[in-house]
């Protein structure tokens, strides 16, 4: 009886011992719940439970979503967003993988210059980038005049075209992708590569059999964050993209501010959540696994 009592006392004191920790982490956790989970959950519920015309009671209905998928313009916008996202992410990998490999295995002065230049966009905010690219790529811009002076006259500006968005988004994503990929490559031991070379492995074999499997996590993180980042972008597609089709960010903003259709904008927001849900889960799982692996 007495034993039981002391154990309960111990339990209480360990619980009290946890209290300071919980109190200290509570503010940011609550802020995240209130500012991210609560609005997102609210949007999902509100778009699924639509108020009836007569009595104003809410009941489950997919009306909002059937409206969306019956609207050809909105559907076009969604497809456009998916395509721009996939092309941008693919472009980023095609550009950044060779650059990251080069930066990992070369320590020449040229490599140092390449690194500085490719990380530079980290310090250029999106809004300034948009302004700079309009003046650079736009009609009668610097690139146009530059090409004219060397005799190339059939320049078609990518400004207000999908290629303009993709160019700008790749520009923006370049440093982050290179940082993540080189971080992954740095974890591969030089001795491993040399021993593979000793037994006669070629460059391509070393890349596909050793480097790629060992940097799988970096590749996944770069893919997920770039995908979600581009899918949820607004500034670049709004300022550099065509008036139609629009990316979902621009479409939402227009529905929300110009058409004052809050529920419509909310439905579009939830659809972007759904499109990114799988990728988001993949991202969280990749990082979580690594963390837990490190702890063990």
């Amino acid at each position: 009886m007495k034993k039981n009592f002391t154990r309960r006392g111990q339990n209480l004191s360990t619980l009290l011992g946890y209290l300071p920790g919980y109190l200290l982490v509570a503010p940011p956790v609550l802020l995240m719940l209130l500012l991210i989970f609560y609005p997102a959950a609210q949007s999902i519920v509100r778009t699924l439970f639509v108020a009836n015309e007569g009595d104003g009671l809410r009941s489950f209905s997919l009306l909002r979503y059937t409206d969306f998928f019956n609207n050809r313009i909105l559907l076009w916008n969604l497809w456009f967003t998916v395509w721009v996202t996939l092309l941008t992410v693919a472009g980023l990998f095609v550009l950044c993988m060779p650059l990251a490999l080069y930066l990992r295995f070369s320590d020449s002065r040229i490599a140092a210059a390449v690194q500085v230049l490719s990380l530079f966009p980290l310090f250029v905010p999106g809004i300034i980038l948009a302004f700079a690219l309009i003046r650079f790529l736009g009609p009668h811009g610097t690139l146009d005049t530059l090409l004219q002076t060397i005799g190339f006259t059939s320049f078609r500006t990518p400004y207000l075209r999908p290629s303009g968005i993709i160019f700008a988004l790749i520009w923006e994503g370049l440093p982050f992708t290179i940082l993540v990929l080189t971080a992954g490559l740095r974890q591969v031991d030089n001795a491993l590569i040399e021993s593979a070379r000793d037994v006669g492995a070629g460059d391509w074999q070393i890349f596909t059999r050793i480097l790629l499997p060992l940097m799988q996590r970096s590749v996944l993180i770069a893919f997920c964050l770039n995908f979600i980042g581009v899918f949820g972008s607004y500034t670049i597609p709004y300022l550099l993209g065509p008036a139609a089709p629009q990316m979902m960010g621009v479409s939402m903003q227009q529905t929300y501010s110009e058409y004052q259709d809050k529920l419509g904008a909310e439905t579009q927001a939830v659809i972007t959540f759904l499109c990114c849900a799988l990728i988001g889960v993949l991202y969280v799982r990749t990082v979580t696994r690594q963390r837990i692996g490190e702890r063990n």
């Binding site: 982490v25 971080a183 949820g232 990082v287």
Partner: protein, 298 residues
């Protein structure tokens, strides 16, 4: 053997050593070119693609007139600097932007730094799960989330107010302000602290004189990154702030869309760049410490 032939032979003999050395340097250069061909091509493309747009902004900021087929401005000058900086909208937007960034960074530090200490040093069930839950801030498509938040804020009358903008900008700072300091606190050598405690230092003194100096560079990096990214945050401020709260990046939207005079945008871009240059000055330390990627869970 004719004399001319011998003369020729002599001539070639005389030039031979010179020629081979020329050939050697040429060959060395060719070898460097071949070995570095990828790097050189990459460098050239990056110079055009990255520096091209940036230098265009610089050129426009110091231009008085730039007629189309000319490669460089036709008339240089700084006339537009005074004109731009005396605009009333900039006069109100710049202090507002600086104030907002300071308040958001301060609030974020106040909320997140104690939590980071707890995540690193205290033991409680669910600690790892809670720490990882902040990754969710990256798992939502940004603008969709902002629209969701805007609708909640609309009902709370926070749209068009400074507190509304502060709250939406706080979201972006959470992950960075928790993960970078947490790993810094985890990296502190506990033996040093215990040694100080053993010789009779108080807990507060150990924290101020031993723990804090060791985490200060990482905390500085987190604070600076938060300040700069908040200063440039445009989308949340656009959706929540308008029509009453107009920060510098939000002002840029209207300047890009409706302004005929290009120089205004160029001058503001350069002014807006100042905090970024500050960041650039510290870049070496950041990238070596992997602070940027640590804040993203890499």
């Amino acid at each position: 053997m004719t004399p001319s032939e011998t003369a020729e032979e002599q001539a070639t003999e005389a030039t031979r050593p010179k020629q081979t050395s020329v050939n050697l340097t040429l060959r060395a250069w060719l070898r460097v070119l071949r070995r570095e061909s990828f790097g050189l091509v990459a460098l050239l493309l990056l110079i055009v693609g990255i520096l091209g747009p940036i230098s265009t902004v610089f050129l426009w900021a110091f231009t008085e007139r730039w007629r189309y087929p000319s490669l460089l401005p036709t008339e240089w000058g700084i006339k537009y600097w005074a004109q731009t900086l005396s605009r009333a909208d900039i006069g109100s937007a710049l202090p507002l932007s600086i104030m907002l960034s300071l308040v958001v960074t301060g609030l974020s530090a106040l909320i997140c730094l104690p939590a980071a200490y707890a995540f690193a040093r205290m033991r409680f069930p669910g600690r790892q799960l809670l720490l990882l839950s902040f990754l969710v801030t990256n798992a939502f498509p940004r603008f969709g989330l902002y629209v969701s938040i805007a609708i909640v804020f609309f009902r709370l009358d926070l749209v068009g107010t400074v507190p509304g903008v502060i709250l939406i900008q706080l979201i972006n700072t959470l992950l960075l302000m928790i993960w970078i300091p947490t790993s810094a606190f985890q990296g502190v050598d506990r033996a040093l602290e215990e040694a100080a405690l053993d010789v009779g230092a108080s807990r507060l003194r150990v924290f101020v004189q031993i723990t804090l100096p060791m985490v200060l560079p990482a905390l500085g990096a987190a604070l600076l990154l938060t300040f700069v990214s908040t200063f440039y945050e445009a989308q949340g401020a656009l959706l929540i702030g308008l029509p009453n709260v107009r920060t510098m990046p939000v002002l840029m939207y209207s300047l890009i869309n409706n302004q005929v005079i290009v120089q205004y945008g160029a001058v503001i871009s350069l002014v807006l760049w100042l905090p970024s240059f500050l960041l650039l000055a510290f870049v070496q330390r950041f990238l070596r410490g992997n602070a940027v990627t640590a804040g993203l869970g890499v």
